[in-house]
């Protein structure tokens, strides 16, 4: 069986276990709905529609991705199932990549759910169908999955190589560190324009950041080792 088939096997299993977990699904739905609707209400429907989708998709992807990654990486490590998995013919890289994709796919679906909610609520309130702009559509289709994958990869890497206590801190730090790239107003503050409306420039900066983050995590994944994973279980 080739590498990608092995990765796909792990991904399928992870998606299945995530979808079997009602608590996790509820949390995902709650975060998706909350970020979508809250952003919309705070920003004002007509003016903030595209900005809301821009930030809601990223926030949901990263926050839901954080809980899913804890389930997919950390829980399996804490319960020591990972040791058994490492003794199968799966390579460490295929396990890691399979898990990243297994957490990313459902997290991305929740991002799309938040987009749908924002669109439905906005359209109902404005009595007309509101659709995202072209730049936001590109953002949803390309940038959000890359950004979510990069964030989950980084969190998954940390969860694999760090001890249980360090993980609690590092997870929050990663999520908080990504927030500036997800909120147009904070983004605007950095760029010197608080009333920023998301354009190709912001989406471009965000996508470059996501690609760099993904490249960094791919590079870091070379330092993953079975020993590191196993010995950090012991340090709990």
């Amino acid at each position: 069986m080739n590498f990608m088939n092995m990765v796909w096997l792990v991904t399928q299993k992870e998606i299945k276990t995530v979808l079997h977990n009602k608590g996790l699904l509820f949390a995902g739905f709650y975060v998706g709905a909350m970020f979508g609707v809250l952003n919309l209400l705070l920003g004002g429907i007509a003016s903030a529609f595209n900005n809301t989708i821009f930030s809601a998709t990223l926030l949901v992807g990263v926050f839901v991705g954080y809980s899913f990654s804890r389930f997919v990486f950390l829980r399996e490590k804490r319960e020591k199932i990972i040791e058994t998995l490492l003794c199968t013919p799966l390579s460490l890289k295929s396990i890691w990549l399979g898990k990243v994709l297994g957490a990313t796919v459902p997290a991305y679906l929740f991002s799309l759910l938040s987009v749908s909610l924002v669109m439905i609520i906005s359209s109902v309130m404005m009595h007309s169908l509101l659709l995202p702009s072209a730049v936001i559509l590109i953002h949803i289709a390309v940038v959000v999955p890359i950004f979510t994958t990069a964030a989950i990869s980084l969190m998954g890497f940390g969860q694999f190589v760090l001890g249980m206590r360090e993980n609690k801190i590092i997870g929050y730090l990663i999520v908080l560190g990504l927030v500036p790239f997800m909120y147009p107003s904070i983004f605007g503050l950095i760029l010197g324009n608080v009333n920023l409306v998301v354009s190709w420039l912001e989406v471009g900066i965000c996508s470059i950041f996501a690609v760099v983050l993904l490249a960094l995590t791919t590079y870091l994944s070379r330092y993953l080792s079975k020993e590191k994973i196993v010995t950090t279980i012991m340090s709990d």
Binding site: L9, T88, P89, K226
Partner: protein, 309 residues
């Protein structure tokens, strides 16, 4: 041919020596028992053999190769660690199916059903693992570990949490795999009775060092001190015999249990002891050699290494 081989395996973790020049080999078809107290380094040794940890010095090889670096070689190895390695949110069947797919088993449905039948869980196949009892999970984990019919099986306390019937099932399975199928078994266990019943060779690990490594019969010979049990006709005779035995310089230990005395003699034949009893006009009902159990050998090794004897 040595299937499993540890050559001077040393492991240091955080400046502490966990294993110190551990060496042994396990040949094809052998059931190898790895025993030792908690914290002796048994699980660390197992993890090094499985490639989960790297030795600081030395080599740990399976089929002459490092298991950790060889994805394909791991197809020939079955593993049951201390933890079951099962997903609680998936059903018993789904768990086995996942592992069957990882090991690329063709027509895995039949194999899964066969194993579920074998571990008496076919009626619980659709139940989530989280709903099963501890013993059931362990049985399912045993099925998981042999789903791909491995050539070598590494078992860490396989019978823990099992009822006596299931323990027997595990013992019978191990014996069947080794004797009928020629499989090689590496068994980490605290259960000396289990090890004694099924293992062809054992190693006793203490404080990270191998203190004994041989077949149980050879170890019995090596650690044998003549233990003799004497049955007396009544309490009075037992008292007299005890006084007499204590006065003999070649008797090193003497323990009375009602009308029976167990004694250990050094460097003399048992007949000499019998003569001493007859000459002392003691009425003896029975005298017999006591075979040393693995527990006796184990305790002796542990006590010796702790400097107690």
């Amino acid at each position: 041919m040595a299937i499993i081989e540890a050559q001077n395996v040393t492991k240091m973790l955080n400046g502490r020596t966990i294993l110190d020049r551990v060496s042994f080999e396990v040949k094809e078809g052998e059931i190898f028992g790895f025993v030792g107290p908690n914290g002796a380094g048994k699980t660390t040794t197992l993890k090094i053999l499985l490639g989960l940890l790297k030795p600081s010095y030395g080599h740990a090889l399976v089929f002459g190769k490092l298991l950790g670096d060889n994805d394909d070689l791991r197809r020939r190895v079955g593993v049951l660690l201390e933890h079951d390695g099962l997903y609680e949110c998936l059903s018993a069947y789904e768990n086995l199916r996942y592992y069957a797919q990882l090991y690329q088993i063709p027509s895995f449905h039949e194999r899964i059903m066969e194993l579920l039948e074998f571990v008496a869980l076919s009626d619980r196949k659709d139940d989530r693992v989280g709903e099963l009892s501890k013993g059931m999970k362990r049985r399912l984990a045993i099925a998981r570990s042999i789903i791909h019919d491995p050539d070598v099986l590494f078992l860490d306390e396989p019978a823990s949490g099992l009822d006596p019937e299931a323990q027997k099932m595990v013992r019978d399975l191990i014996l069947y795999l080794a004797r009928e199928r020629g499989r090689t078994i590496f068994l980490n266990s605290h259960d000396l009775d289990e090890v004694q019943r099924i293992c062809s060779k054992i190693a006793i690990l203490h404080s990270g060092e191998i203190k004994a490594f041989d077949s149980i019969e050879n170890l019995r010979r090596k650690f044998s001190t003549h233990a003799i049990e004497i049955a007396l006709t009544n309490d009075e005779e037992a008292e007299k015999a005890l006084d007499l035995l204590k006065s003999l310089d070649y008797v090193s230990e003497c323990e009375r249990d009602n009308m029976r005395i167990t004694t250990i003699i050094n460097d003399v034949e048992p007949s000499m002891l019998l003569n001493a009893l007859i000459n002392g006009s003691i009425q003896v009902e029975e005298v017999k050699n006591v075979t040393k159990s693995l527990e006796d050998i184990y305790m002796k090794v542990v006590n010796q290494s702790e400097g107690r004897i």
